[in-house]
């Protein structure tokens, strides 16, 4: 996959950090404002897709990125099921909200919901990036 021009590369280098921070903000405030795990995960995936599109890549770096995304996706899924099972082991019911609820409208409130949002965002981000790589890698198959 070829990269883009120098202007696009420079702007991408500046903008990627801000998009990532914005995505993390949407994830962490998922229990207070609209958004949450899925929307934030899509934005995080957009960061990585933007880097690939702007800088281009060869087959080797795509394979390495695909492996890394697969491992992160499994970690996200295991984290989510782990939170649910720990509700079972520590407090008695599957998926119980067992962490202290705290004061409303603060960042660390609402029990397990922020952690579930983080797990979902890791999984969704890595999953969408894997889908992008699967669709983009077809170019190598079709050009052969």
């Amino acid at each position: 996959m070829k990269g883009m021009s120098l202007i696009v590369k420079t702007i991408t280098n500046i903008v990627i950090g801000f998009i990532f921070i914005f995505g993390v903000y949407i994830i962490l405030h998922g229990h207070l404002t609209p958004g949450g795990g899925f929307a934030g995960g899509v934005i995080i995936a957009g960061v990585f897709i933007l880097k690939f599109l702007a800088f281009g890549s060869g087959a080797k770096s795509e394979k390495k990125a695909s492996t890394t995304a697969s491992i992160f996706e499994s970690m996200g899924g295991l984290l989510f099921i782990g939170i649910a099972i720990s509700g079972l082991l520590l407090a008695g019911t599957f998926f119980l909200n067992f962490l202290p609820k705290g004061t409303p409208f603060h960042l660390l409130s609402a029990g397990i919901i922020p952690f579930c949002n983080i797990a979902i965002s890791i999984k969704v981000g890595a999953g969408l990036f894997s889908i992008f790589l699967a669709l983009a890698a077809m170019k190598y198959v079709m050009e052969d």
Binding site: S70, I71, S74, L78, L88, G92, T93, F94
Partner: protein
């Protein structure tokens, strides 16, 4: 009572673990898959033992009571479906150790295998309508990917056809859920049942029931919505074909139809005979049309695919009769057909693994060179036709008794006559594959594949000889769980098990 979420949590955990383990140490993946299937089998037996004493276990997720939260309602019919799923998944997992050496990327296969198991288990035990849709889509999307697993031209074409038809069914189900929510403003199955009884049998009631029946008939491959099945089931790898024909079309089509018709919409034979006559008509149409088309097939697995469509017609016929014998026969037929058709697809896989072809005109004389496969095919085929004392005979017997008790003598005669079609196409395979004299290079199948086939044969024989305790303790309570109809919602809301 916390073993209930383990039914879908364990396959999900192993599905997420397998990509990581697959990069560290490859044989570990198959070990994880088989161990998890065996643990699910033990848990399913424990579930059957528990539902003998407690008629329904209600497990609240996150401790939210119904109708606020999602609940898992585990009654005898759910316990029965979970047992059947775990048997076929265990046999398929044993079989796939040597069979999957044809394909690359094996960790992807095992991940999808565990995901489809989690989806089917989730559909069987959930008590919430949207949760049923989510698990149904998990299982369906995994099956689309599994059908296209070896990326040859025919498999991709079959998977695309299957995907288009399956998704139309899934989206119609979602539209029906939206309409039900608009009318009753709840998603819990028991609460919907109460609201629909207050509403009565308005045209809206019949429209939503028709949409759901359309969606589930596509998934269950009833004629005239069956045309994806003869392309999709041969294209899949053999353990997946046995899973798809053995339990997937039954869990996603027949279990959901039975649960919705009997427990949620509360229809009974006495009150709504026309609806049940429609089910009988669909059943007879499936048996006859698919049975006749199966006679002219030249591909081993495609013939078995048409046979699956035909046998699903028997199950729908049993549910359409609607009395105790009919429903018991239909549920027992689910078990009998799962064992028999699962075994037949595994023998087909064994033949393909050794000879490399599925064409009935090219295969010949494998009877002496593959004795285990040949005898497994004979046992499975005899059970499917309905020869005593194997388990298929008792299942068909109960259905025929149910038809005669309901008074449809001519339907019973037609059903018995159409069994001859089953014998005809199975004899075609037996003749062409195992008995014909010919020169084809073959040796016996590998050890784990033989173990999987012998396991199913042993189950067919044991459950056939000892069918009476199975009817009394496992199938009978499942039929009662369906036939008590609207008491389902009373049990969910008042059950003392809701305090577990």
């Amino acid at each position: 009572m916390s073993f209930i979420p383990m039914f879908f949590a364990l396959p999900l955990i192993s599905a997420f673990l397998i990509p990581i383990l697959g990069k560290i140490y490859k044989p570990l993946v198959w070990i994880v898959c088989t161990v998890v299937s065996f643990v699910l089998f033990i848990l399913a037996l424990y579930g059957i033992a528990v539902t003998q004493q407690i008629p329904m276990i209600v497990y609240k997720m996150g401790n939210w009571p119904p109708p606020l939260g999602i609940v898992m309602t585990f009654d005898s019919f759910s316990a029965f479906m979970v047992l059947v799923i775990s048997i076929i998944v265990f046999a398929g997992s044993l079989f796939s150790l040597r069979y999957m050496s044809h394909y690359t990327g094996q960790w992807k296969f095992y991940t999808l295998f565990m995901l489809i198991t989690a989806g089917m288990m989730g559909v069987s035990i959930t008590g919430d309508l949207f949760n049923m849709f989510v698990f149904l889509e998990i299982a369906a999307i995994s099956s689309y990917a599994l059908v296209a697993f070896g990326v040859d031209a025919e498999e991709l074409e079959a998977s695309f056809k299957y995907m288009v038809m399956g998704e139309i069914g899934g989206l119609t189900f979602l539209l029906a859920i939206a309409l039900i929510y608009a009318k009753t403003s709840t998603l819990n199955l028991a609460d919907i049942s109460n609201s629909l009884q207050v509403m009565g049998h308005t045209p809206f009631f019949w429209m939503v029931l028709g949409m759901m029946l359309f969606a589930f008939s596509i998934k269950a491959a009833l004629v005239p919505f069956h045309s994806w099945l003869p392309d999709a089931h041969p294209a899949a790898p053999a353990p997946i074909s046995s899973l798809l024909s053995g339990i997937f079309i039954k869990v996603l089509g027949i279990y959901t139809t039975a649960r919705i018709v009997f427990n949620v919409f509360g229809l009974t034979r006495a009150n709504d005979p026309q609806f049940f006559n429609v089910l009988i008509g669909l059943g007879l149409l499936s048996i006859s049309f698919a049975g006749l088309t199966a006679l002219s097939q030249k591909d081993y697995k495609r013939l078995l695919g048409f046979s699956s469509v035909s046998q699903i017609g028997y199950i729908m016929l049993g549910f359409g009769i609607g009395n105790y014998y009919g429903v018991t026969g239909a549920i027992f037929f689910i078990l009998a057909h799962a064992l028999a058709k699962g075994l037949l697809f595994l023998t087909a896989g064994s033949v393909v693994h050794v000879t490399g072809t599925r064409d009935l005109n090219k295969l010949a004389g494998l009877g002496e060179r593959m004795p285990t496969t040949a005898w497994s095919f004979r046992f499975g085929g005899l059970s499917l036709v309905g020869i005593p004392p194997l388990v298929g005979f008792w299942a068909k017997f109960y259905i025929i008794i149910g038809i005669i008790k309901a008074g449809f003598i001519w339907v019973a005669l037609v059903a018995i006559l159409l069994s001859v079609l089953t014998l005809a196409y199975l004899l075609k395979i037996e003749n062409n594959v195992f008995m014909k004299k010919g020169q084809i290079d073959a040796k016996e199948a590998p050890f784990t594949m033989r173990i999987a086939m012998v396991f199913l044969v042993v189950l067919i024989v044991i459950l056939g000889i000892g069918f009476q305790p199975i009817i009394n303790f496992i199938v009978g309570p499942a039929a009662h769980a369906l036939l008590r109809g609207l008491e389902y919602s009373h049990l969910v809301f008042n059950s003392f098990a809701a305090n577990f």
